[in-house]
Amino acid sequence: MSGTFVGMPAFPQAAGKAVRNPTLRGNLRHATHTIRAKRERAVGELSDWAGLREAGRRIKDHTLRHLDRYLEQLEESVTAAGGTVHWAADAEEANRIVTGLVRATGESEVVKVKSMATQEIELNEALAAAGIRAYETDLAELIVQLGKDRPSHILVPAIHRNRGEIRDIFAREMGEWGRPAPEGLTDTPADLAEAARLHLREKFLRAKVGISGANFMVAETGTLVVVESEGNGRMCLTLPETLISVVGIEKVVPTWRDLEVFLQTLPRSSTAERMNPYTSMWTGTTDEDGPRAFHLVLLDNGRTDTLADTVGRQALRCIRCSACLNVCPVYERAGGHAYGSVYPGPIGAILSPQLRGTTSEIDASLPYASSLCGACYEVCPVAIDIPEVLVHLRERVVEGGPAVRRGNKVLLKPAKGHAAERAAMRAARWAFARPGALRVGQRLASRTRRLHPRTLPGPGRAWSGARDLPAVPPEPFRDWWQRTRGGKDGDR
């Protein structure tokens, strides 16, 4: 991608680029289709799925409606159990708190278990700036970190890498970070996993500080829950002397009993398993078992702004299962990097613009990265109506209107002549020229229609007679992303 390119690339050009990246497209297609089919089986095993989904939706909605109360209760419970609670209004503050806590231990290394919240605030970068090395310990995150790359899927962040590439990254980079890869490393998954085991074990055994996120926090008991597969989460949560968990404020649930819903819906929706291999639950600190100090950093960073949007707030129900990614026709073609955010796919398209605000070009364009086919809503275990929020956000991009930013009421200007508007026009042209790309959008056209307010906002009016068209082709966001953020991240 030329660094001097100005404006969105035209779609034929962008589509050409996608064709020339067969690895990415092939991996994504294989991955999303495999998980999709497995998920359907896992969900089909539970005859009461609809009831669990509805209960999940209601629990989360109820919590959000009384979020202040449950956060205060959570703070009280965690403190009573021996933990320390910190509040971070934004990324910068969260990073400052965590850096300070690590410094206070005198350590210059931490082990980390995958956490989207810490990626969102770019904690690793902040720690590095303070001279602290953060080791990612999920296999996929390790691949991403060693490959000086970015995650492209919530659940399988290295989905864009195949085994040959992973072997090369391990062989080349592991020695830089610690124990080198074994001689003659092959590209079989078992061998690669063994190399990661050896490389990371050394770090776990000497780690004094662990950093995590959490899937759930129980207000009633002060319990935090981390759901994982590999055991690196258990390592990070139990071996270090100090544990720091950075968690978005929307992760709280009121009662212990509420876990009975999410521990059924999350594993089946995400890895399509009856249960994931490991789930850890801890409440404050326990004498002679696990960390002696536990710090919980409660993160706002745009969540309260999202909460102020009466349509958009449902995005805060998300339990990050990634089911919506795997069914999304746009994600399948575009890949996670296209979304320019740690939250890719349909959920990213509604969450990132709200968390960060829709003023940047990439954020203004994200609500267009969808064909509104509705498949994401169907699979979502907390019934987030993603198409509804997308349409709402599109309207706000094009027509402007009131919003809340950093806690303050603002009036957004309509995005006349905005790049997002141009993007949608090009999307329409691109889609018309490619009947195959239309089918998916048309399949669920009736549902789409129900969701559309009046006419399609802005550029959509020009083609509202055919408004069940995919609004945007996948690839341009990827290129756009590389152009707008590539300069910053390209040589990390």
């Binding site: 991955a31 495999t34 005859s47 009461d48 009831g51 669990l52 509805e54 209960a55 209601r58 409606r65 009384h66 202040d68 956060l71 509040w87 209004a89 503050e93 296999l139 962040p157 290295a158 195949n162 085994r163 992973i166 998954p189 690669l192 996993a193 085991r197 074990r201 055994l205 129980v218 009633e220 590999e230 055991g231 258990r234 139990t238 404020i249 009975e260 819903v261 521990l263 890895t271 398993e273 009856r274 249960m275 994931n276 291999p277 490991y278 850890s280 639950m281 409440t283 326990t286 002679e288 078992d289 696990g290 409660l298 706002d300 309260t304 702004d305 909460l307 102020a308 009466t310 806690g407």
Partner: protein, 213 residues
């Protein structure tokens, strides 16, 4: 204003349109789902547990009380274990007097020392049939969380049918949130490389479950 007040203030302003819920929580959130899936006898529930454990590649054995020590010894021998880690309250009679050297988990032992131990034997708090899950809660027969994590071979004894429940909701009812809990469903695994499920990244790569009853 500190960040706590700032965030709580933002939350309250964001919810200005919301009418507060006046009903008690359990009424406000209807739970139209099952406590367990399907009707089973106690024996059938244990069978389902065995089936689901095996489906996620745990190795399942059954033993009566008298057969237990011999079975454990055999499994340790088959694994070539020279040392076996034991929790502080391992029930007498689970291990035979001879066999591998017993390492008692004491706080003074470093993680690096535990890393040289081949196997660990623990009990569990509850097992969930529908999902093939073992839950450990740090009771004396299970020990600290780290002991079932660091060794590569975990033998877990489940007293059947008493410790077995059908479902996740039933398991949560029995568990105490104040204890550190580890839910284990099969050996450690990853699907991060081209979605092939590979056994054992960091937790024990071999999980053997003995249904004792």
């Amino acid at each position: 204003m500190n960040s706590r007040e700032r965030i709580l203030g933002r939350v309250r302003r964001a919810l200005a349109d919301v009418t507060p819920e006046t009903r008690p929580y359990e009424e406000a959130v209807p739970r139209d789902y099952l406590r367990a899936h399907g009707e089973r006898t106690a024996g059938e529930t244990v069978d389902l547990l065995a089936e689901n454990l095996a489906d996620y590649r745990a190795i399942v054995h059954r033993a009566g009380a008298g057969e237990l020590p011999a079975l454990v010894m055999r499994l340790l021998a088959e694994h070539g274990s020279r040392e076996v880690l034991v929790p502080p309250g391992l029930p007498p009679g689970w291990l035979a007097e001879d066999g591998p050297v017993r390492i008692h988990d004491r706080a003074a032992l470093t993680a690096a020392r535990l890393d040289r131990v081949d196997s660990v034997v623990t009990g569990c708090a509850v097992a969930i049939a529908e999902t093939g899950t073992l839950v450990l809660d740090g009771s004396p027969d299970q020990g600290r969380r780290r002991i079932s994590l660091i060794p590569d071979h975990h033998i877990c004894v489940v007293r059947v049918p008493d410790q077995v429940v059908s479902s996740v909701p039933q398991a949560l009812e029995r568990l105490d949130a104040a204890r550190p809990l580890t839910w284990i469903s099969g050996p450690s695994a990853t699907s991060d490389i081209e979605l092939d499920r590979v056994e054992g990244v960091h937790g024990p790569r071999t999980l053997e479950v003995i249904l004792l009853g």
